[in-house]
Symmetry: C2
Subunit: 310 residues, 2 copies
DNA sequence: GCTAGTTGTTCTCCATATCAGAATGAATTC
DNA sequence: GAATTCATTCTGATATGGAGAACAACTAGC
């Protein structure tokens, strides 16, 4: 699809930041981005969030530039948390009046909140509102949501419900059991598929060519030394995953973390996955008579059987 | 602030739809909206969501009309769930090419997903992503989130964590206990303050003039026969709430539902509320030696004491 | 397989909306 | 109270958005 970009990702990520997930909001801001907005990034430092932004959708033939400016402001506001007009104007190399016009428009429509005292702007919870509405209409969410909490209680570990969107895994639910580790995931956050158990559970049941597309689009960035970074290796692993019936992430995403995930299928269509994450110390890697595996697969089964309840 | 609008709301809402919360997504679409976009609504039928949209922020002096078009498309897409180019063009009285340009721009930036097979567009989970990030940085959420689940387990009922934004209550967390009723609330959804326990818990600790502003802005729509609809009545109720230490909603929002809420204050600043909702049959309205009240107030206290853990 | 009807996408050109820059106003600091 | 900083408003040159037309890709009917 966009092989230049895919290559760029691999180049960057292999030399880049390994280990723990980083919430992009807190990352240092990149000074050196291209001016035009229609060209890709021309310097060296890449952020995960920027790469993702660049990857999304196909290039629009007739982009609405004004809307893009607004979206840039939204993205920057999201990165900075809160900001003043001048800060944003400097950051985006725009005039203050332009920034002001965009901000007041976004504010009028409820997407941005202005603090009159400090004269700062921030994104509003309208995003959570819209996001919540979208989520609440996803079938698998309606069916699986109660099961996620149950499974968390039962296993005592961290449980996630995930769906695929645009080649990335998106967390729809998150529930912590008694002893759960505290990962920096949040509802709505995205993660690459190849380096996670849930991702592999989903990929394993997607058509081969779609998997290829996803790899083309997002690459196979190395997150820990054990992350799968080659195409062939990935396809072999997906084969093993299909045979096994569930997917495994053995410190491929975060050192010290092991994770198992079961696919959720409605009528042979893969529509998501449910996963249990915990420290390697507690989640044993012998998969026969493994209590967590039993709990997980039972939960996935119940969810699949409940599909008609929607 | 905008008293014409406030009056309009009261007029509409008092004669309007009572009873259960309605997810605006599923509401019938209003045919008769003004053409220009810069004027308010000129006909009779109002939707809740439209009213909220109109209420937000102050009128921008120099609105960016192109951005407004994009936002209109987003709003319509949110209302319809999914739609084709032609549908949106008809709905919004725009040319197909214009709609297409906006959609592909939004898609390129990941806000909209296009289904190539059915040629339909829908909003993406990016909204949930951004919303999730915003939520995860709210102090009270970080502290209170675990307590919400605990309180749900302890009480067995439906528990919410709420903050105020732009004069409305926004649900940040939601957890169902064993016997919990299934309200149509979702994380991120908004609700008027005057007709809910959490809203009154917050209003009771906000400066009087701010309460006045909020009432001006959003009115006091009647949701059930017991909803408070007069300003004086509201101020008396807030007085009682302050004395009592927690707020009560006795079928003021939904018939058959009773709800109690405790304010959460960090250094005398009101920053949110936590609430328990259940059927009138289970939540007794004698507040002395009431088990739910004890559980609720204890939880609120612990949250307030944990504020420095952020 | 051909034709007619739909719908998505691209292209062109001009009315118009956008935004830089200047001017104003409000708030804070020294 | 002068100086500084910043948000906001105003104005005009010009970049750009979008209507409408043309094209492309599909589907349905015969």
């Amino acid at each position: 699809m966009n092989s230049i970009l895919a290559t760029a990702i691999e180049t960057v990520s292999s030399g880049g930041h390994n280990g723990a997930l980083v919430l992009s909001r807190h990352a240092a801001h990149p000074e050196n981005r291209s001016e035009t907005g229609s060209v890709f990034y021309d310097r060296t430092i890449f952020m995960d969030s920027d790469i993702l932004e660049g990857c999304m959708g196909d290039r629009a033939k007739h982009p609405v530039r004004t809307t893009e400016k607004s979206l840039e402001i939204v993205a920057t506001l999201n990165r900075l948390g809160k900001a003043r007009v001048t800060t944003l104007a400097d950051e985006l190399a725009m005039g203050k009046s332009a920034v002001h016009n965009h901000l007041s428009t976004l504010e009028e429509h409820g997407y941005v909140i202005k603090d009159e005292d400090t004269k700062t702007y921030r994104l509003s919870l309208k995003f959570l509102d819209i996001g919540g509405q979208i989520r609440s209409e996803i079938d698998v969410y309606k069916v699986a949501e109660p099961k996620v909490e149950e499974l968390a209680t039962e296993s005592g570990e961290l449980v996630h419900l995930v769906v695929e969107e645009d080649g990335m895994g998106v967390y729809l639910s998150r529930s912590k059991g008694e002893r759960a580790v505290d990962l920096d995931t949040y509802v709505g956050c995205k993660h690459h598929m190849h380096s996670t158990a849930f991702g592999k559970a989903i990929l394993a049941h997607l058509p081969q060519e779609r998997v290829g597309e996803i790899v083309d689009q997002h690459g196979l960035p190395e997150v820990t030394p054990r992350t799968i970074t080659s195409r062939d290796e990935l396809f072999e692993e997906l084969e093993r995953t299909r045979d096994r019936g569930f997917a495994v992430d053995d410190e491929e995403r975060l050192e010290g973390l092991r994770c198992i995930a079961a696919p959720i299928r409605f009528d042979s269509d893969i529509i998501g996955a449910i996963s249990i994450s915990g420290p390697t110390a507690r989640i044993d890697d012998t998969w026969e008579n493994n209590e967590f595996v039993d709990q997980l697969c039972r939960a996935a089964n119940v969810i699949e059987l409940n599909k008609y309840k929607v």
